[in-house]
């Protein structure tokens, strides 16, 4: 199938329009179609085409590797999609395929400016070239042929479709171009109007199919949402946190690394927060109460990026406070990722996301981000960006109020609060440190005793529990003392991994309290869980954790490299280019070497059979250098006659004998014997050494 005139040019313009690359499409279309008017043609052999094809395929591989490793299109200046979330991979693929018409342009140009109308399939396929064992086939059968222009036409249309352009003209234009291409190869068995009618029928089916697919996708999408809601449990919910108070045991998570922290000094933030809550209704901490009007205005507030598009400011810095910096790396979880930040985070820089939102309760989420979130947080001690205290931050539920107030009275928290703001904090911390212990399997109240809540049992009877018990109890006690407090979930930073680097695992998930300091007008962390909880958690570590850490580290480095943020990235990309260049050079050297070795090997026996390897030709070529070479129409004897003036008598005689032997070698059906063949060589050698006239 060869294409009708100008059909391919039109397809290229169509591609340029959909992909917004007219500046590339127009020259390419003009170049290709000019082949119809330019009579000059190059003599490309099948081997040449194969070499150009290999070159194009190598470019495709290089572009794919570059695109995967750096997240950018090789031929494009910008980042792919500027952050596409779950669609980032699709965006890479789309941009990658869009450029295929350009990548394969050298091959098609070579084809258009050659004499061939078809090329053997072996040019394109390694499998076909090496299929003698796979699909034995008599050698004399002609190989399969391909019309590269038609295949390129399909490729251009495919690339044109790799766009998110929403135009009603796309399908009609696509159908028009397809019909134009099919016109040449339509069947002559039916009239033309039948062809047009059938093409219209196909377009109708196509259009109906598009509508059907849209409806199907809408249905699948609804189903997918439902499914994802079911499956997405277990992560921090910024609106609610269901605690394990009263549960038999707390499963805090695996040893998988959740975050990596890099600091400029030896002091990382001890706690990184994911969300905070103000209302407790056992066993759930939440923001407001369900159905509360107030709860509706706890909305995600979009942050606006700074000029560089990667810096997001949460609040203004306090002049008097020291600024700290920590680099946090974490993997995105779906299209919306809840970030874990130290309390007092003010500026997030180098965060590549389409959108960043936050609540005034400390939850920050990145939307449509890179797969790896690697950003720097600037923070100060205490938070002044969280919502200021409300009445809910002093609320104690009816269930818990009696025993919390009783304990607060025993600890004289109210009186101490009156004396000093910090005194109740010290007492509460001391209370838990002195007589409580950490346990992942705390004793739970016996069933049937409705008066005893799990918290009461923890505070008064068992005196053992995990961080959620300590955080909840501390929060409520502080509230009983008149201090505004909120329950916080996040991670504890406790595992160093080299200089200024810290690992945070899922099992380091933690709960604690923030309280409001009216003097400094800031929220501060307050953690009353006994410090031995760290040891307790570490006992949960699996034996194979170090091995997993190595893989995790490798994956992390690879992700950094992909994101173009690794120091290794540039070097590796360069190395990749060098390897590819080396491969190309090797390919050409090999091809040339093969060419050299093939000629004598293939034709050597024929040359020998025909006597074309005769030593006599040395004499002719020595005269040819002086401009006295034998002409095409001359016999050897007539040539000798022509140049006899240049020869001595000895030379003339000897040359005649050599020529006779040479003629026997060339034309005598009986050929010459080994001895005569040797004699010819010796005579020529002697003749060459004779003194010339």
């Amino acid at each position: 199938m060869n294409l009708p005139p100008f059909c391919l040019g039109a397809a290229l313009l169509f591609w340029g329009w959909t992909c917004n690359w007219m500046q590339a499409a127009v020259p390419l279309a003009l170049l290709l179609e000019s082949a119809r008017f330019v009579p000059t043609r190059w003599e490309f052999t099948t081997q040449d085409f194969h070499r150009i094809w290999t070159f194009c395929v190598l470019i495709v591989l290089a572009a794919a590797l570059f695109s995967v490793s750096t997240g950018r299109s090789m031929l494009d200046s910008g980042e792919v999609g500027s952050g596409g979330g779950s669609g980032v991979a699709t965006a890479y693929a789309i941009r990658f395929f869009q450029w295929w018409p350009m990548i394969f342009a050298p091959f098609v140009l070579a084809f258009f400016f050659s004499r061939q109308r078809y090329l053997p399939l072996s040019v394109f396929s390694w499998l076909v070239r090496n299929s003698a064992d796979l699909f034995p086939r008599p050698r004399t059968f002609p190989g399969r042929q391909v019309a590269p222009d038609a295949v390129y036409f399909g490729l251009v249309l495919g690339a044109a479709a790799m766009t998110s352009l929403k135009s009603p003209f796309f399908l009609p234009l696509l159908a028009l171009l397809t019909g134009w291409a099919l016109w040449a190869s339509r069947s002559r068995s039916v009239p033309r109007w039948v062809f047009v009618l059938m093409l219209l029928g196909a377009c109708f089916i196509g259009a109906a199919g598009v509508q059907g697919m849209r409806q199907l996708q809408a249905w699948v999408s609804r189903f997918d949402d439902l499914l994802m809601q079911r499956l997405s449990g277990g992560r921090f919910d910024p609106l609610e946190s269901r605690t394990q108070l009263g549960a038999i045991a707390l499963h805090k998570g695996s040893s998988r690394i959740a975050l990596r922290l890099f600091t400029t000094n030896a002091m990382p933030p001890e706690l990184v927060r994911s969300a905070s809550y103000d209302t407790f209704s056992s066993p759930v901490w939440m923001l407001g109460t369900r159905g509360d009007k107030d709860r509706e205005h706890i909305k995600w507030l979009p942050l606006s990026a700074e000029q560089d598009g990667m810096t997001w400011v949460l609040g203004k810095e306090g002049d008097s406070l020291e600024r700290n910096f920590v680099r946090i790396a974490q993997f995105a979880s779906g299209s919306r990722t809840l970030l874990s930040l130290p309390l007092g985070a003010l500026v997030l820089s180098n965060l590549n996301a389409q959108k960043v939102s936050w609540t005034r309760y400390g939850a920050v989420r990145a939307e449509d981000s890179d797969q790896l979130l690697d950003f720097v947080v600037s923070y100060q001690a205490g938070s002044n960006v969280d919502r200021e205290p409300t009445a809910r931050d002093l609320h104690i539920s009816q269930d818990e109020r009696p025993h919390i107030e009783a304990l607060a009275a025993r600890l004289q928290l109210a009186q101490r609060r009156a004396v000093s703001f910090r005194d109740p904090l010290r007492v509460v911390r001391g209370h838990f440190l002195s007589s409580f212990k950490y346990s992942l399997r705390p004793e739970i109240p016996p069933g049937g005793n409705l008066r005893r809540t799990p918290l009461f049992h923890f505070l008064e009877i068992s005196k053992e529990g995990h961080c959620e018990y300590f955080a909840t109890a501390s929060c409520l006690l502080l509230r009983a003392a008149g201090i505004h407090a909120r329950y916080v979930t996040g991670y504890s930073v406790q595992e160093a991994a080299g200089a200024n680097q810290y690992l945070v695992r899922h099992r380091h998930a933690h709960a604690w309290v923030i309280y409001w300091s009216p003097e400094e007008r800031r929220w501060f962390d307050f953690d009353t869980t006994p410090p031995d909880w760290v040891r307790s958690e570490n006992q949960q570590a699996a034996v194979w954790e170090p091995a997993l850490d190595v893989f995790s580290r490798l994956w992390f480095e690879f992700s950094l490299w992909r994101a173009g943020r690794s120091e290794l990235a540039r070097g590796l990309t360069m190395a990749l280019m060098v390897i590819l260049a080396g491969f190309l050079v090797r390919l050409f050297i090999k091809a040339r070497r093969q060419k050299r070795s093939v000629l004598p090997g293939d034709l050597g026996w024929q040359r020998r059979m025909l006597g074309l390897d005769s030593e006599y030709y040395r004499i002719e070529s020595s005269f040819a250098k002086q401009g006295l070479g034998r002409r095409v129409e001359e016999t050897a004897f007539s040539w000798a006659k022509r140049i006899q003036a240049r020869l001595t008598a000895d030379q003339q005689k000897s040359l005649h004998e050599i020529q006779e032997l040479h003629y026997r070698l060339r034309f005598d059906p009986a050929g010459v014997s080994e001895v005569q063949r040797k004699e010819l060589a010796e005579r020529v050698q002697r003749w060459m050494s004779l003194p010339a006239r």
Binding site: S185, S189, M198, A207
Partner: protein, 439 residues
């Protein structure tokens, strides 16, 4: 139900080879490649390409299911053709229907033979051979002969068109042309519809031949016991030198009737002893099935020798073992090389064992030979022993050893009396090149 569907598909030749035209392949390829990105309707418009190509395919399929033609198809085939060489013949197609037919194509459908699949299996790698899905009957049939689609001119009602067909037989033997498939493309040119017209005919495919360098096979004329009576006018068998008394055992036809009548006792003619050149061409047929290609090359070499050795004044005995031991003589007007080629066209491999029967056959007639060409598939002790015994008997011997492609050409002659130059190793696939060094 499934059987009905299968039968319906089979009747309409939906899965026939050549069903998709090159354009059809392109559209199918576009459909396949756009299917995966087409799953995401938001990111790209690939789903529109997918939908359009599915639409084109549906229309083409519907149109291709409806094809009727009443035709009469006749061929004018040659009797002999050569494996690997294209041959041409004329096909006449007559329209017996009531509609003008345009844009038809025609292609041969050679009949499969059970042997094809076995031979095809022999050509495959052992690992592939073991797999049941590795052996495709259609591929085996396709390896037998190549034929492309030929366009048929317009066929008016009752009118006929002649098509010059071209075929390339893939291998020697009998090529059964069972049916002719007449095809019509659908309106969009994506799919072909077929109608089969049975017209069984057969062509004998002679083995492929190589150009051989002059083979100097020295050897004196040997006494041919009793002469070659069949040698008619060319030989010297008519030259009787004298008459003598009948001795018991003399053939009846040597009786000189006139002398008997004259003398009253039987007198017989005494002939001069026959001396002439008689070459033996021995074809080894014993090898494992996976070396089918090597065997084919050996047959081709034997055929090349049969054609090239001048038999006007000498005889050539072809000896090989097939279903039984064969010895076939040509030359001196006995038979022509064509007949030997015909025999070679149907030579079959005889498995891995039984070389002794060939050795016995050759040694039985060795005394009448003046030289011998041995075309071997292996170079093992039984073959070496046969070669040694022939040399010991004073016969000039040339051994052509066919080996699988890729194997080295250097072989230890093994037989001390055999001149290494007289052991020529050729490899399947590069026989002509390897023969270039033959002296």
């Amino acid at each position: 139900m499934m059987r009905r569907i299968k039968s319906w598909i089979s009747r309409r030749m939906i899965l026939e080879k050549g069903r998709l035209t090159p354009t059809g392949w392109l559209v199918a390829g576009c459909c396949g490649f756009s299917a995966i990105p087409g799953l995401d309707l938001e990111s790209s418009l690939a789903h529109q390409v997918f939908a359009l190509t599915v639409g084109l395919g549906t229309i083409a399929l519907l149109h291709s299911l409806w094809f009727r033609a009443r035709l009469d198809v006749q061929r004018a085939l040659p009797r002999f053709v050569t494996a690997g060489e294209p041959f041409h013949y004329w096909m006449e197609i007559r329209n017996l229907g009531h509609r003008i037919l345009r844009g038809l194509e025609v292609i041969e459908r050679p009949a499969p033979s059970p042997k094809d699949v076995d031979e095809w299996t022999g050509l495959l790698k052992p690992s592939r051979r073991a797999r049941s899905f590795g052996v495709s009957k259609s591929r085996a049939v396709r390896a037998r002969a190549y034929c492309r689609f030929h366009e048929v001119g317009d066929l008016p009602i009752g009118g006929a068109a002649s098509v010059r067909m071209e075929m390339i037989p893939g291998k020697r033997g009998v090529l059964d042309l069972e049916a002719v498939a007449v095809a019509r493309r659908d309106a969009l040119g994506l799919l072909r519809s077929f109608r089969l017209f049975r017209n069984p005919q057969r062509v004998v495919v002679l083995p492929k031949r190589y150009w051989l360098p002059d083979l100097a096979l020295p050897g004196k004329e040997a006494y041919q016991h009793g002469g070659i009576t069949q040698a008619g006018s060319i030989g010297r068998a008519e030259e009787f030198v004298s008459l003598r008394d009948y001795r018991r055992g003399d053939p009846m036809r040597h009786i000189h009737w006139r002398s008997w009548a004259r003398r009253g006792e039987p007198i017989v003619k005494e002939f001069e002893d026959d001396f002439f050149v008689r070459h033996g061409l021995v074809l080894d047929t014993f090898d494992t099935p996976e070396h089918q290609d090597v065997f084919e090359e050996a047959v081709s070499l034997a055929a090349s020798f049969a054609c090239q050795i001048r038999t006007q004044d000498s005889l050539l005995d072809l000896m090989f073992v097939g279903a039984e031991a064969y010895r076939f003589t040509t030359g001196r007007g006995l038979a022509h090389a064509d007949q030997m080629l015909e025999i070679l066209a149907s030579a079959e491999p005889s498995g891995d064992s039984g070389f002794d029967s060939l050795a016995t056959l050759v040694l039985r007639y060795a005394s009448t030979l003046t030289g011998c060409i041995l075309v071997f598939l292996k170079w093992d002790s039984p073959r070496m022993e046969l070669t040694r015994r022939l040399i010991v008997m004073g016969l000039p011997v040339r051994v052509i050893l066919c080996r699988p492609s890729g194997e080295p050409r250097q072989v230890d002659p093994g037989v001390t009396l055999l001149d290494p130059a007289h052991l020529i190793v050729v490899r399947a696939g590069s026989v002509q090149e390897d023969l270039g060094v033959m002296r």
